[in-house]
Amino acid sequence: MAEHIVASFDEDLEHIDRLLRDMGELAGSMTQAATRALLTSDNALAQRVVSDDTIMDAKQTELDERAITLIAKRQPMAQDLRAVVGAIRMASDLERIGDLAKNIAKRVGAVGQSATPRKLSHSIDTMASMVLAQVNAVVDRYVARKAADLMALRDEDEKIDIHYTSVFRELLTYMMEDPRNITACTHLLFCAKNLERVGDHVTNIAENAYYILTGEQLPVQRPKLDETQMTAES
């Protein structure tokens, strides 16, 4: 893409892009740290996630302010306009990912050393690495301007949802086996749900990034079947 006649316009856009990349990296590392803290009962690591969230919030505020100032000052058009509006929306999804990671981290103490959830660590671990791969990939692919790959990313979310359903069933089994597991398992269930939500935010980001790059909206996905809902009813 050619440069703007006004060089500072490019600098302003570049700055917003950099903030977005920072937030993406932070979202990835927070999700990773929160899950690791949960699975290894690492309270110190959990604390770091909580404090990282403050940084995430600050970055989002800065990005919002810069984006709004840019719109007021430059009246961006076409791909510039899409980039700025898209950045605001992607930042808000990344900020939500930070919140969800913080929420996982806060549960570390509550789950504690309880024996049964340890058995589960493999299942949640797998889910976490799937989610983490998604978070890292979405920002990478946006930065690399790979629109087609972003579309593929959205489809990957389906796998996370399927995995979430199996974690849900597994936790339910443990709770039925021994009511003493209920407290820990409920916390783990929230963690799994949070990871699943992170996946949904990644999907939003992928859709936004696709729009920024192509100017086209991805077609609306068909309504998903929420299998945990059916389990709850049966």
Partner: protein, 271 residues
């Protein structure tokens, strides 16, 4: 479960369809100023009751094209126009066409307000009088009042209709010129950068006016302000070096244009 079909959703999201009737049509228009060719095979439809914005860098031919639409280029000796331009399907370059009548049907508002050095009343009354649109003095008063009202100027000038038009502010003068154009009941109004000499408030008034006029008239506007084109028009045509680069719905042109030249121009990247 969502029972709406995709088609139903689409219908629900789209508003009433815009009018698609073609009011004026340029077909392979080529314009020469002496040896120099200013327009190359420009084919462009102007749709009824819509605002069509012509954009592009200076010297791209947008004003030249605009001026072809009511044969203003006839006034330039070395200018020759080839190709076909129709108004309601009729070729306006046909020798049988009365140019004075054509310019009454296709009115024009210029970049700098150019009221006649006469009273406000006479500025408006002049056109209808020479075109014989008013048989009695009362009719003329009516036309002057309606035209000023349509141009959103009446309340500001009703007590000084017989003072000189040149005594008004720039924005008022431009609206006076629009009222003057409306007075002869045109079908199409051409505007050549009508707001470039106006302050933001006067600009907003003229833009608001353009939006209202669209109900009864077809408007073609040349503008250097991208935001103005985005605000006032339904369709936008982008010119570059005498060629029509791209034409389409304004919403799409300013969010996702197809041609790289359009993209570079509207985002401020033209080298």
């Amino acid at each position: 479960m969502n029972m709406l079909t995709d088609a139903a959703v689409e219908t629900a999201l789209e508003g009433a369809p815009e009018s698609n009737a073609v009011k004026m049509r340029g077909n392979k228009v080529n314009v020469f100023y002496g040896e120099k060719q200013a327009l190359f095979d420009v084919s462009l439809d102007v749709r009824e009751n819509q605002v069509t914005a012509l954009i592009g860098p200076s010297g791209c031919g947008k004003s030249t094209f605009l001026r072809c639409l009511n044969r203003m280029n006839d006034t330039i000796d070395i200018c020759s126009v080839k190709g076909e331009i129709t108004l309601d399907g009729e070729d306006i370059y046909n020798p049988r066409i009365d140019v004075v009548e054509l310019r009454a049907r296709v009115g024009m508002v210029f970049q700098k307000p150019n009221p006649f050095p006469k009273s406000i009343y006479e500025n408006i009354a002049y056109g209808p009088r020479i075109h014989g649109l008013a048989s009695a003095k009362g009719d003329l008063d009516g036309i002057v009042e309606t035209s000023l009202q349509k141009a959103g100027l009446f309340n500001e000038v009703k007590d000084r209709l017989h003072e000189p038009g040149t005594g008004l502010s720039g924005g008022q003068q431009q609206r006076l010129c629009i009222a003057r154009a409306i007075a002869v009941s045109p079908e199409v109004i051409l505007m050549d950068e009508p707001c470039s000499a106006l302050d933001p408030i006067a600009t907003a008034r003229v833009e608001e006016l353009i939006d209202e006029l669209r109900e009864n008239y077809t408007i073609v506007i040349v503008t250097h302000s991208m935001q103005q084109a985005a605000r006032v028009s339904q369709r936008t045509a982008m010119f570059h070096l005498g060629n029509l680069v791209e034409e389409g719905p304004t919403d799409k042109m300013f969010t996702n244009p197809e041609d790289k030249r359009t993209q570079d121009y509207i985002t401020g990247r033209f080298g």
